[in-house]
Symmetry: C2
C-alpha cells in the first residue's frame, strides 16, 4: 500500500476528549476515527488490524468445532419478554425503535434469545448434541457514558460463541474447550502473558464465571492476581470464602487494574427453559438443553493491545496482527534514482508476498517519516536512501539498533 494514497493519515494531536492512551494512539495513527460518542469508524489501517484479530478468533473457534453463523440485529421483543430481558427496568441499555406497523423492536444487546429460539428447530435428539455456534455480529448498548475509545462503545462487533449440551458434565467439557481456545487467542494476539483467567460471579447456574482480564494500569476493572499460578479474582467476588474455594490466600495476591477482554459463562437452562429448547435423551425423555456463552470483543482487544504495547513514540503491534509487517520508507524521493530504487524494492517485496506499507511521499522530511512509522507501529522499518546506496537499513520497532543489509539479504528473509 502506498502511504500517499492511504485513507487516514497520522495526526499530531488526538482530540482532547480522548483520554485513553489507546484511543489517542489509534486516532493519531489513522486507525480509527470517532463518529459520535461511543461510535468509531475503522479506517483502512484499523480495519486491517480488526480483520486479523477476527481471523485469529475465528480459527480458534473453528478448531474446537464452532460453526459460524450470522444473526440479525433487529430483535423480536416477544422472544426477549419470555426471558424477562426486554423491560428497560431489567436491562437498561436497549436501543429500541419500531417497525412501520407499530410493533416494537430493539437492537441486539447480545444474542442468547434469538439463537436459543432458532435452535428449537434444529435440536431434537441427543444425537444433535453437543453443538457449538459462533458469530461476529454487532452488539448495541445504550451506554450513558461511553469511554476509553474502543474500550467501551455504544456499538461493537462481538464474537459470541454459544454451546449446547446434554448434561452439566458435557457443558463442563465444552466450557474447558472454550477456555483453552481463549487462552490460545490472547497468546496469538500478543497479550497472553498479561491476560489472567479471572474468577467472577457466576449467576444462578454456577458459582463462578470466568473473565479474561488483561492487566493494565488504565483498565477500569480491579482484580487480584496470583502471578505464579496465573489466576485472577475479580474484586466483586474477592472474599476469604472464595479464595479458600480456589485454593489461594490473600498474601499471594496483588491488586491490579485490568481490562476485561473476554468472558465465559455457564448459562445452564436459563434460556432453554424460557424458550422451550429441549432434546429427547437416550431413554426417550425430554430434557432441557444445557447452554454456555462466551464473548470476545475484537475491537476492545485491539484497544487492550495498544494500551499495553506502546512506547513514547507510538504503537508496537505484534507481528501477526500488525496492519503491515513492513514499513518501507523511501528517502530522497525527489531524486529520480532514489525513487526508482525505492519503488523497485516495494514491487519486489510485494511480489515476494510481503505486506508492505510504502511511505512514498515526496514533500515530507525524513524525521516526519520516521515519526509516522513509529506511531503506526509496524514490526519492521526498512529505509532506502541516497546515502545508503545499494544497501538497505532495517530496524525492528521494538529495538533501538538498526542493521544495514543488502537487498538480497532482505528478500531472502
Amino acid at each position: 500500500m502506498l502511504y500517499s494514497q492511504l485513507i487516514g493519515k497520522t495526526k499530531k494531536e488526538a482530540p482532547k476528549d480522548e483520554i485513553s492512551k489507546s484511543a489517542q494512539l489509534l486516532i493519531r495513527g489513522g486507525f480509527i476515527q470517532k463518529e459520535i460518542s461511543g461510535v468509531y469508524a475503522f479506517l483502512p489501517l484499523g480495519y486491517k488490524v480488526l480483520e486479523k484479530i477476527i481471523q485469529v478468533i475465528r480459527e480458534e473457534m473453528k478448531a474446537i468445532g464452532g460453526q459460524e453463523i450470522l444473526l440479525g440485529s433487529l430483535q423480536n421483543a416477544e422472544t426477549w419478554k419470555k426471558t424477562d430481558r426486554w423491560d428497560d427496568n431489567v436491562v437498561d441499555v436497549w436501543f429500541k425503535t419500531k417497525f412501520k406497523n407499530g410493533q416494537e423492536t430493539g437492537l441486539a444487546i447480545t444474542h442468547e434469545e434469538p439463537l436459543t429460539q432458532i435452535m428449537t428447530q434444529y435440536i431434537q435428539s441427543y444425537k444433535d448434541l453437543p453443538i457449538y455456534a459462533f458469530q461476529f455480529q454487532t452488539k448495541f448498548r445504550n451506554e450513558a457514558r461511553p469511554k476509553g475509545g474502543l474500550l467501551r462503545t455504544r456499538e461493537f462487533i462481538m464474537k459470541d460463541l454459544y454451546t449446547f449440551d446434554k448434561t452439566e458434565k458435557d457443558l463442563e467439557v465444552s466450557y474447558e474447550k472454550a477456555k483453552s481456545a481463549y487462552i490460545k487467542i490472547f497468546d496469538r494476539l500478543g497479550i497472553g502473558d498479561k491476560t489472567y483467567v479471572t474468577f467472577a460471579s457466576g449467576g444462578f447456574f454456577s458459582k463462578y464465571s470466568h473473565e479474561f482480564q488483561t492487566v493494565s494500569e488504565t483498565g477500569e476493572d480491579t482484580i487480584y492476581i496470583n502471578k505464579e499460578k496465573k489466576i485472577g479474582v475479580n474484586k466483586e467476588v474477592y472474599t476469604d470464602e472464595v479464595l479458600r474455594d480456589i485454593g489461594l490466600n490473600r498474601d499471594s495476591m496483588q491488586e491490579v487494574g485490568a481490562i476485561e477482554v473476554g468472558n465465559i459463562f455457564k448459562l445452564g437452562t436459563k434460556f432453554s427453559d424460557a424458550l422451550g429448547l429441549t432434546y429427547t435423551n437416550e431413554a426417550g425423555n425430554k430434557k432441557p438443553v444445557i447452554m454456555g456463552s462466551y464473548g470476545i470483543g475484537p475491537a476492545r482487544s485491539m484497544a487492550a493491545i495498544v494500551e499495553l504495547l506502546n512506547d513514547e513514540n507510538g504503537i508496537l503491534w505484534p507481528e501477526n496482527i500488525a496492519p503491515f509487517k513492513l514499513h518501507l520508507i523511501g528517502l530522497n524521493m525527489e531524486d529520480a534514482e532514489s525513487e526508482k530504487k525505492a519503488v523497485s524494492l516495494y514491487e519486489k517485496l510485494k511480489k515476494a508476498g510481503s505486506e508492505v506499507l510504502f511511505d512514498d511521499r515526496k514533500d515530507v522530511t525524513a524525521g516526519e517519516k520516521f515519526a509516522d512509522a513509529d506511531l503506526i507501529g509496524c514490526p519492521y522499518r526498512i529505509v532506502v536512501s541516497k546515502k545508503l546506496g545499494d544497501k538497505i537499513e532495517i530496524k525492528k520497532r521494538n529495538e533501538k539498533e538498526s542493521k544495514v543489509i543488502s537487498e538480497i539479504e532482505l528478500l531472502s528473509h
Copy 2:
C-alpha cells in the same frame, strides 16, 4: 463437515408465508431462517455462501484500488440534517432511536453522509485524489412490506463503494472502473449472462445512473433489454428520447422481469457541497470533491442466484460460491466396513484440501440422502456404498448421468 453435526438440517416444507422460490429453497435447504419479518439468520451453510460472495466482491473492489473500511451503524442526526435526509418526510425508511442523553440517532440507511464527513479530515489536496473507500456494513431500512425472503429485507449487509475525484472527467474514469468491476463480480457469481447493465434515472448530477439487473420472471422490477447489445433500460426511463440517446429502438427491446442486484450512481457534489468536502487544486483554488457511490447487496445476490439456478429438486450453486464443492454420501453406514470406507475417503478428501459436506447419517435412507444433496445443491455428489465396493460414484449436480470411478481417479481430480 459432518452433516450429522451441521446446524440447519433440510426441511420438507418451507413456511407458507414465504412465496419466493429462493426463500423457500434457502430455508428448506437449511441456509437461512427467518427471525422476524424482513430479518433473516444465516445458518452455517448460508453463511458460507454469503462469505464467498463477499470475498468475490472484496477482491474486485481491491483490484480497482478500493480501501476497506468499516463505519458505524448509529448515525449522527446533525450530519444528515445538512443533506436534508434526516426528515422522515424526505426519507421514510429510518429506524430512529435515542441515546441516553435524549439525543436522536438512527440506524444507517446508507453511508454517504458519515463517510463524506470523515473524508473532510483526510482529503485536502489534489494529491489526495482519486481515492476509493468501500465496506461491508449493515443497512437498516424500515420497509413497510419486506418480501421475497432475502430480496427485500429490513436489515442487510451492503457492499458500498464511494469514489472521490477531482473532476467530472476523473469521476467518469472511476465510474467506468466500478462498472467493469461489477461486470466481473456478477460473472464470477455465475449470473453474468443474465445480468444487464441497465440505464436508470440519474438524479441531479447526471442524466443516468446504472443498475445491474438480473433477468428473472420473479423480479419485482420491469426492464427492457437488448440481448444483442447486452443493454437494459429501466421502465422508469423507457421513453423514445432515452432510447434515441442510447442508440436503441423499441423493435429490438424485450420486456422482462428483473432483480436489481447492484447500482452505480454519480453523486457529483451533492454531499461534498452540503458537508464541506473540498480540496485545493493545482492552481491553489478550493474545489468541491466529486463523488460516486456503488452498491451491491451480497445476500440479495445470493437470492438472485438461487432464483435463477435451481431445478425441481433444489439449488444448483456455481462452483466458486457453493457452500461445499463436494457432497459425499455414505450409504449403508450401519455396516462397519461401509462406514470405515466412507470416513476414510472423507478424511482423504479433506487432507487433499477439498471442501466436503459428508452425509454420515445412519438413520436415513439413500433416497432421503440423495434428495437432501439435490436440495442443498453442491456441484458434485459422491457416493460410497456396499454395492459400489472399492469404486465411487460421482455426479455433477447439473447433469443426469453419474460416473463410477476409482478413489485414485477422484483424488487426482
